[in-house]
């Protein structure tokens, strides 16, 4: 059998149990030290990446993994931000504000999903796009709570005295801890039982249901989780940006989140991170190049990235580590057993095409 067994160095490196344990440790250490050594500006940028990486991660849960095109993710980010901002202004404890943001977004997501998950395909896209589109005037209408079109400021990100940290370092640490936890939990969730269920709901609802997986319930579940994660992202948004207004949830941002998700890599955890980075860094980059041509440059970059990597940035990583699965299967074993004809008859009359002309004419 010609099935090539890949034994490239990258795949064998990843097989090494020591390395597999050492790499996460190294990552944690690096993340712990980085905020201390980086400049304020870099820390700010990293924190913002964290905010949007979490938002994209939520979108990935509902769309990348479960296949429901959601154009409403930014609404939940906005909702989380508003609830946080409101809570802080009312003098709530920050933890309480965090929980409230999560809860509000999750409950709103649940309610929307109970209705929207009955629809499929593009219909769900249109119903979810309504969230930001209606959310903006709604936020204005509820100006007593939201501050109307002038928005809501909340400063609650000062580093506690005891830590001896600068504000930007403190902010980044908080983003790293919360964002990191969300990423790890989500990663585990989309690997096992629920990940498989989400994937089959995306792939084939009829099959899903015949496996005991109610597509409706799992769509609602995925949507709710995505909203919850959106709410967390909203909390972080408020923590990092310290301001929100109706413009936060303008539907253009929802579409940008979608683009970031696909560019990072749909259905990929690391892709969510890359998507968040894309969301934050590309506008900065294009601003550096020529701030009057940002739209043009962003369009070019988006198209160029996808043209080279249709599977998103994460597919680059995946490409580098390909073959790992094959070699995991054990070399030699990966060939189908076939009817043992060749040993018995090969050679006897093979490659004698002359004979086939003897048929009817």
């Amino acid at each position: 059998m010609a099935r090539a067994v890949d034994t490239s160095p990258s795949s064998s490196l990843r097989q090494n149990p020591w390395l597999r344990r050492a790499v996460p440790l190294l990552v944690v250490v690096v993340l712990a030290v980085l905020p201390l050594v980086l400049t304020e500006n870099t820390n700010d940028t990293l924190a913002r990446i964290g905010v949007f990486a979490v938002a994209v991660l939520g979108l990935n849960v509902v769309m990348g993994y479960t296949g429901q095109v959601s154009l409403g993710q930014i609404f939940f980010v906005g909702l989380g931000a508003y609830v946080t901002g409101y809570g802080v202004q009312q003098g709530w404890n920050v933890v309480l504000a965090f929980l409230a943001a999560c809860l509000a977004a999750a409950v709103a997501g649940l309610v929307v999903a109970l209705a929207a998950a009955r629809l499929g395909g593009l219909a769900i896209a249109m119903v979810t796009i309504a969230l930001p589109i209606v959310g903006v005037p709604l936020a204005k209408r509820l100006s007593d709570v939201t501050g109307g079109s002038q928005g809501l400021s909340a400063r609650f990100a000062e580093a506690p005295e005891a830590t001896g940290l600068y504000d930007d370092q403190w902010v980044l640490y908080v983003v790293l801890v919360i964002g990191g936890a969300v990423f790890l939990l989500t990663r585990a969730l989309v690997r096992g039982k629920y990940g498989r269920a989400f994937a089959i709901v995306k792939g084939n609802e009829a099959v899903a249901s015949s496996m005991g997986i109610s597509p409706y319930r799992y769509k609602v579940l995925a949507f709710t989780i995505a909203s919850l994660i959106g709410g967390i992202s909203g909390f972080l948004y408020m923590f990092v940006i310290q301001y929100t207004s109706p413009e936060t949830m303008s539907f253009g941002h929802s579409i940008e989140l979608l683009a970031a998700m696909v560019i990072g890599g749909a259905g990929s955890i690391i892709g969510s991170l890359l998507g968040g980075a894309y969301y934050v860094l590309v506008p900065e980059l294009t601003n550096q190049v020529d701030s009057s041509l940002t739209a043009l440059l962003q369009g070019v970059i988006l198209l160029a990235v996808l043209f080279v990597l249709p599977g998103g940035l994460a597919s680059l990583l995946r490409r580098l580590t390909r073959g790992r699965r094959r070699s995991g299967a054990g070399s030699g074993a990966a060939a189908p057993p076939t009817t043992p004809l060749s040993t018995a008859v090969s050679g006897t009359s093979a490659e004698e095409p002359g004979k086939e002309r003897q048929g009817h004419a």
Partner: protein
């Protein structure tokens, strides 16, 4: 006169090479079968001919090397492929599927006649003529796929398990009709078929594939006489 000649054809999906040298030839107006276990490369061989998988070696149709042509260019030369699985356009009605089959033809009248011919051959389709193809039963979809191929009036018909999911009598009718087409219109065919008993009612000769190689070629009679073939493909 050889219509189609495969010489040492190789093919791969990405890095995985699955055909390692398939050779066979189909004479003008001939009918050749391909036998082989699951995964032997039968489907891939047909796909190599119709241009849906990248192939190496030589694939000569009517004196012209067609390797590297796009599927629609191959079809335009008169090769119709009934693919494995659902070979229909699900969102189009049964009639539209048949009309698409005749896309390359310019003779309006002939097309209308051939649609009637297909509906005669497959009464099920006549009953569901305005239904979306995706609403049809598995067997009905298979009928439609065959019908679509017939509609194009090909010179060479590539049949990939055309009897899959067909009731025994229907399968037999289809093969009878194809045999008749061969007599009346001079179509040649290359037939992949797990139901070897059925296949041998149609083909004059067959090639046996094993892990991407043609290991054995012979006339129907020769092959039917071989123990291994009987045990693996014919039963009894």
């Amino acid at each position: 006169m050889t219509l189609l000649e495969l010489e040492d054809v190789t093919a791969s999906y990405g890095p995985v090479q699955v055909l390692e040298g398939v050779s066979l030839s189909v004479p003008e107006n001939g009918a050749v079968g391909i036998l082989g276990a699951n995964g032997a490369g039968k489907t891939t061989t047909l796909r190599a001919i119709s241009g849906t998988v990248r192939a190496g070696g030589r694939i000569v149709f009517d004196g012209k090397d067609i390797r590297g042509l796009r599927p629609d260019q191959v079809a335009a030369l008169g090769i119709a492929h009934v693919p494995e699985g659902r070979g229909t356009l699900g969102d189009l009605s049964v009639r539209d599927n048949l009309r698409v089959g005749a896309y390359l033809r310019k003779d309006r009248k002939g097309v209308a006649e051939d649609i009637d011919f297909c509906l005669d051959l497959f009464p099920n389709l006549a009953e569901r003529i305005t239904s979306n193809a995706s609403a049809l039963s598995g067997g009905e979809q298979q009928m439609l796929a065959v019908g679509r191929a017939i509609m194009s009036k090909p010179r060479l018909l590539l049949l990939d398990e055309a009897s899959l999911g067909l009731a025994p009598s229907t399968a037999k009718n289809v093969y009878d009709a194809i045999r008749k087409l061969r007599l009346t219109s001079g179509i040649a065919m290359l037939v992949v078929e797990q139901n070897a008993n059925l296949a041998f009612t149609l083909v004059d000769s067959a090639t046996v594939l094993e892990t991407g190689r043609s290991v054995l070629t012979g006339t129907s009679a020769e092959l039917k006489g071989m123990d291994e073939i009987r045990r693996a493909y014919l039963g009894g």
